[in-house]
Structures are given as C-alpha cells and as structure tokens.
Symmetry: C2
Subunit: 238 residues, 2 copies
DNA sequence: AATTTTATCAACCTAAAGATTTAGATAATT
DNA sequence: AATTATCTAAATCTTTAGGTTGATAAAATT
C-alpha cells in the first residue's frame, strides 16, 4: 500500500492542543517532505477528516484523563482504511501504551522524545513496521505479560478436573458450553436423553458443580478445549 | 534483583543442538564476562538446572516443530524465580514470537542475527528491559493486533443488546454469570424469587435467549461488565 | 479370568427453571 | 395531568433440569 515513488506521505494531525498542533506541523515541514493534509483539535472532526482524506498516517495525541484518543483510534480502525496510526503521547503509562497498541496503533512516541524520533516513527510505520522505542516496549510487555499471567494463573492448580473427563463427556461438555439442551444434545450425539443426563451428572461430579451454568463457567475459566468429534452447531433454540 | 557491583551475570544455556551449545558458550566467553553456570541439550534437565542454580539469565533455544521450548519457558516461569529468559530461535514466526513473549520471555533473538545482538539482548534483559529487535517486534504486533481484532469483532454489531438492560437487570445478570440460582439471587438482592424471575425473563427477551446458560454465554462473549451495587459472592451452592 | 472403566438406556421422581398474566408503587418524561 | 419506564410481587402453569437406582455390554486393565 505504501508510498509510490515520488509521492509524498500524506499525514493528518490530531491534537487537542492547538499550540502543539502548530509546532508539530512546523516540525514536519522543516524536517521532512511529508504532506500534512489536515490538522484538528477535535477527535470527532479528526475521524471525519480521516474518512475524507484517507491519509497514510494519522498522528494522534493521547491524553491520560480523557480517553477520547483511544476511542478515536478504535473509530479509525473500524473504517478499515490503509491509514496507520502513530500515537504521540505525554504519558508512558503501561496500560495506556498497551491499550493503544491493542487497538491497532502502529507506533507510539513520547512528546518528551527528540523530534527526530517522531520522524523516525512515521518513516518506520509508513514502511509497514511497528515503531515502539525500547523503554515503551518494556512498559508494554510489563502489562502484556502481567495480563497473560493472570489468565493462566487460574487455569493452573485445578485444571486437572477437566482432565478427568472421558472423551464422550468432553463432547457433552462441549455442547453444554454452547448452550444446547438435553434433547438437542441427544439428537446431535445420536443417543438417548437419559444417557445424556447420565453423562452430564458424571461431569457435574467430576467438576464439583451442581448445574449446567457452573459447569459451563468452570469449563470456560479453565481453558476447556473441545475434543475431536464435532459437527457444527448452528441453532441453539430450545 | 540485578547484578551487584562486581558480580558476574550467571547464565544457563539450553539448546538441543550440542554444537550450537558449544558455539554459544565460546561466544559468551570471548565477547563478554558472563559466567556460564551450566548448559544442556535437554529441556527437562534444563528446568532442573534452573531450580538448582537460579541463574540470572536462561538462554533458551526454541524450535518450531517440537514445542518443548515453549513448555520449558512456562515451566521455568512457574518457578517464580528472578530468572529471566532470552529466546534464541531460528524462526521469526509471528505466532512463535507471540507465544514465547506471552509466556514471559524477556528477549527474543534470531540465530541469524549478529552475535553482538545476543550480547545486547542479554545485557538489556539483565537490566530489566525487554529486548525485541524491530523486525521481530513488528512480527509480534502483527499477531497481537490480529488476535485483538478478532476479540473485539464479535462484540461490535450486537453488543447493543447488553446496553438495553436496566441497572437492576444488570445486577441480576451479574449474579447469573456467577452461576447463582433464583433463591440465592433473591436473598442477595433482598427481593422475592418471583421478582427475580421477572427480571430474568426480561433479560432473556432483551438478549434474545431462552435460558440461563445462553444468557451467561451471551454476556461473557459480549464483554459484559457488572454494574455498581455488588456485594461479594462467596459460595455458589444450590 | 476377573475387574474396572466407559458408554449406553429405562423409569421414576423432585426440584428448579422458565412462561404468562396481572397488578401496585415510584420515578422520570412528555 | 398523562404517559412511560422501572421495580416490585403473586399466582399459576409447563417444561427442563437434575438425582437416583439398576441394568446391559463392550473395551480396557490388571
């Protein structure tokens, strides 16, 4: 999608501070040959400008307190254009970096960084690369790995309960986690409803629960993965 | 936790290829002042050596086909030591990088990279930083953002259904997603069981489902977040 | 060969869940 | 003042869900 030879990179600036906006514009005009196609202090207006001009790069300011910036990133991503977003922020907060990248930002630069970093970021991102300086990368991964740890932590001590299920019980539990009732499970597995109940009761005992909902909740929070034999389930009507 | 002044970094090497192992050992002895406290071609043995020597850094080889390496990372992380893992891999596969980092690796270097990169990586990671070269960082984020897109994609078109719930209905749904039955919900909210049923029926209609399980499944797969008034729920016994 | 595990099913029962209708009391809105 | 939304509740009913007992048969284990 990138720059054809001789064509200038088209950039849109969004920053709620009009002074910053002017400063960045000057910087880009002085230190690069990019074409600033627009600039605005309003996130909402910015989204409309992205639609209209479809720039290569959006330089997006993000402030901690108001999370307009993150919402704007999400809105722009939803347009599914070839526009890439570089965040320019005053905050190196791990969660903020994490969320911006999660929403699809391709670069993240701090306002306190040398102006050459900003040009670097735009250049890298325009070439399809991610630009995240080492310090911010470390911050990002602090958060990312912390989230991952929490996800796997619960699946640890007790997930043996799921391992005690037979393959048939796994098939039944799989259907339970799709909200299928006894009758439909019986039809899908081509066994009688009583047999299904027997399996379900055995599942309950093994998972140490008393009802469907808690069995499903247990399965979902302990990394349940369906077994092999699985015809697709379209409808879930009772 | 890091290196006290004058103390050498203690490093353990794990690589299933004995030749590589020797090569890396020599490299480290030549180009750094680190102390290689052990080296092994066996992932399982490696884990035991980590327990015994508690090195500052583990240099871990990862091969695509066998995923022993990833499991070894997980096993070492589970020890909860101050040992940091640097991956040395022949593959720049996005998913492999993603999973290694997700499991807690602090650095990732390709075998094809200059040997100085490896020393760089160890040095950075020892200082508590993340080391992920630009190319690999881009690969990582390809995968990370792709996963995030999929997660939010389903929550998009229809999540309005959850928005149509009243605050009381949200409280009831919150308890439903914890596997609480009618009687207990009534007790917790200090209302009659009939009232709970009324709320639940309204929830079903708004979420377009016919039973608890599907209501819970809908809530969980559409980013349901409980409202305000929530006394803690300890037991879930029927 | 004997035992245990797994998968199957019937028949019966209780308890819980879900559906429906009607209605009173506030609170918010028009 | 009138309407609508929300929360509450009773009464009644149908339908699932869940529990229990007992039994058959093949497969895997000991």
């Amino acid at each position: 999608m990138m720059r054809e030879y001789g064509k200038k990179l088209r950039i849109l600036l969004i920053d709620d501070n009009a002074n910053h906006l002017r400063g960045i514009k000057e910087l880009i005009n002085l230190e690069s040959d990019y074409n600033v196609v627009g600039s605005t202090t309003s996130a909402n207006l910015g989204i409309n400008l992205v639609k209209r001009y479809q720039p290569d790069i959006v330089l997006m300011d993000i402030n901690m307190p108001e999370k307009d910036g993150l919402q704007a990133i999400q809105a722009i991503q939803k347009l599914e254009l070839n526009t890439r977003i570089v965040v320019l922020s005053g905050y190196d907060d791990a969660d903020l970096i994490y969320r911006a990248m999660k929403l699809g930002a391709k670069g993240y630069v701090l306002k306190t960084m040398a102006s050459s970093k900003l040009i670097d970021a735009i250049e890298h991102v325009a070439q399809g690369k991610i630009f995240l300086p080492a310090i911010l990368s470390t911050r990002f991964f602090e958060h990312f790995q912390s989230v991952s740890r929490q996800e796997t932590a619960s699946k640890d001590g007790e997930e043996n309960l799921l391992n005690s299920l037979t393959s048939r019980e796994n098939e039944v539990l799989d259907l339970l986690t799709q909200g299928v009732n006894y009758k439909s499970i019986a039809q899908k597995l081509i066994i009688s409803e009583t047999t299904v109940k027997t399996h379900v009761n055995n599942i309950f005992q093994k998972l140490q629960v008393n009802d469907r909902t808690n069995a499903v909740l247990y399965a979902l929070t302990h990394g349940f993965k369906p077994s092999k034999t699985n015809a697709k389930v379209e409808a879930t009507a009772a």
